[in-house]
């Protein structure tokens, strides 16, 4: 899993301790759901480049 605090500290945003928690806490929670999904993606699948062409 990604270390979002390290990412934030390296980003140059200059977040204070409290801001750092507020910003990275939800990202870490999101990561838990999102990352396993990415790992299961089939290699040939292309991104949705827009919504319209996919559903028309």
């Amino acid at each position: 899993m990604k270390d979002w605090k390290a990412v934030a500290q390296a980003s140059g945003l200059g977040l204070s301790g409290e801001e750092l928690e507020r910003v990275t806490g939800p990202l870490a929670a999101l990561e838990k759901t999102f990352r396993p999904l990415v790992e299961d993606l089939p290699p040939g699948l292309e991104p949705a480049t827009g919504v319209l062409e996919d559903i028309e």
Partner: protein, 462 residues
């Protein structure tokens, strides 16, 4: 009065547009110190338009059912010569030199805007507790949030200030205030309504639609605003039909999908009872209720969040040097988006394609899905968490839990009131259809409304 009733009264000369507009302005201005729904009133311009509408009617020119009807616009829609703030300090003094396509279309249909409506800052949140312009209050209980981001739109319609208000929906921002304020809210299919001239939040997630007092009124507004716009590449060529359901619409044989998983998890008990009651009413009207298992909505919500974080931060990137211009909650989300790598955004769009294909299969089994719009009723202003099913949840994540995925799918969705809690707060039923099936979900909503699904009018705001 509904739009249809007001239009009939205008048509028979029982009332003039000038009278309707004066009354709307008076109601809105009287309620505003309490609700803070409006950021700007455009009284002078509205009265000029109303006089023009009356002259046109007298001369035999009828622009249709919105001709001479007072409405209002979320302050995210550009209005030529009228301040458009987006609820942000950044745009506090911004006066556009052109109208949004939706505004042009509403004006062409004869609708009269009486002002611009308060919202969550930059439409990026669900409370409408705006740090720059003050919080919007819920007309049903002013200590409670109207939801957001189109909170001013929900409050203005629920309070009876206007017959319709335009909202936008990127992660539930039409349907949530509709649910919390007891109005109808329609998020059309992505591409059905032009996004041109509306300040963006999430390019591939933003939808424009109305909040109204009835389902048929929402359909009337959709009739006026739908259609291809060459200025919006993502707008659809799909044929625009008459979306207004016939009188006595029936839903016999309509296959209603009742999700067995996810959408009824961790609900406020009163919400569950009211929504199941509305679904039972659909069954009594001989709709076929079919239990269905839906794909992984939790996963799709995560995908939609990644896409929104990245797109919103891209929109606001030029302004990130002015960090003090943003409220704390919005700045946090913008910072989160700036930390996401481009690869995550691309992966999210790949997942979006995969999951949409999974959801598309549902439409072989059912014609629509029904479930709650929000798992909870309107939280108190300032609440940061909500207790649902014994679990304490972040209020934003809980409130968007049942709506956000639909933005990633682009499907049309309707919220209509289906009950009041014992504390007197509205409860919303959500009806989701397949792509471009607005006419169907409006027909289902109208049939339910005709057969007793709904709530009483909001008591007058003190």
């Amino acid at each position: 009065m509904t739009i249809r009733e007001a239009a009939a009264a205008l048509g028979s000369r029982e009332v003039s547009s000038v009278e309707l507009t004066e009354a709307a302005l008076a109601r809105a201005e009287r309620a505003n110190p309490t609700l803070n729904a409006f950021l700007t009133f455009t009284a002078e311009h509205a009265m000029e338009q109303a006089e023009q509408a009356d002259k046109e009617r007298a001369a035999g020119k009828d622009r249709g059912p919105l001709h001479g009807i007072p409405i209002a616009l979320k302050d995210l829609f550009l209005t030529k010569g009228v301040r458009t703030t987006a609820g942000s300090k950044l745009y506090e003094h911004y006066i556009p030199d052109h109208d949004a396509t939706v505004v042009e279309k509403l004006r062409a249909a004869g609708a009269i805007s009486i002002g611009k409506l308060n919202l969550h800052e930059l439409a990026y949140g669900i409370t409408s507790a705006n740090p720059h312009f003050g919080p919007v209050c819920n007309p049903w209980n002013v200590a409670h949030s109207p939801g957001g981001s189109s909170g001013g739109s929900g409050a203005a319609v629920a309070a009876g200030s206007v017959y319709a208000a335009m909202g936008t929906d990127t992660g539930g921002s039409i349907r949530i205030p509709a649910s919390f304020c007891g109005t109808v809210g329609l998020k059309p299919t992505y591409g059905r309504v032009s996004r041109y001239g509306v300040l963006p939040l999430g390019y591939s997630l933003d939808h424009m639609g109305p909040l109204t007092r009835t389902v048929r009124d929402a359909a009337l507004v959709l009739n006026a605003i739908a259609g291809k716009d060459v200025r919006d590449d993502t707008s659809s060529h799909r044929r625009v039909v008459d979306f207004v359901p016939e009188e006595d619409s029936h839903i016999r044989g309509v296959r209603v999908g009742l999700p067995e998983n996810y959408f009824f998890d961790r609900l406020d008990t009163e919400v569950e009872v009211a929504v199941r009651g509305a679904i039972a009413r659909a069954e009594s009207l001989r709709a076929v209720i079919k239990p269905v298992r839906v794909p992984d909505v939790d996963a799709l919500n995560a995908v939609a969040r990644v896409i929104l974080l990245a797109e919103a931060s891209a929109v606001m990137e030029p302004h990130m040097g002015s960090r003090g211009s943003f409220g704390k909650d919005v700045l946090t989300l913008l910072d989160q988006g700036r930390l996401l790598p481009a690869t995550d955004y691309i992966q999210a769009q790949r997942l979006r394609r995969k999951m949409r294909a999974e959801f598309e299969k549902l439409w072989e089994e059912v014609d629509c899905l029904m479930f709650p719009t929000t798992p909870n009723t309107a939280p108190a202003i300032g609440a940061t968490t909500v207790q649902l099913g014994g679990v304490e949840e972040d209020v934003r994540l809980a409130t968007t839990r049942l709506v956000r995925s639909i933005n990633a799918l682009g499907y049309p969705a309707l919220s209509l009131p289906c009950g009041l809690s014992t504390s007197g707060l509205p409860i919303g039923l959500q009806i989701v259809g397949g792509p471009f099936e607005e006419a169907l979900i409006l027909k289902i909503g109208a049939a339910l409304e005709d057969n007793g699904v709904g709530i009483p009018k909001c008591p007058p705001v003190a």
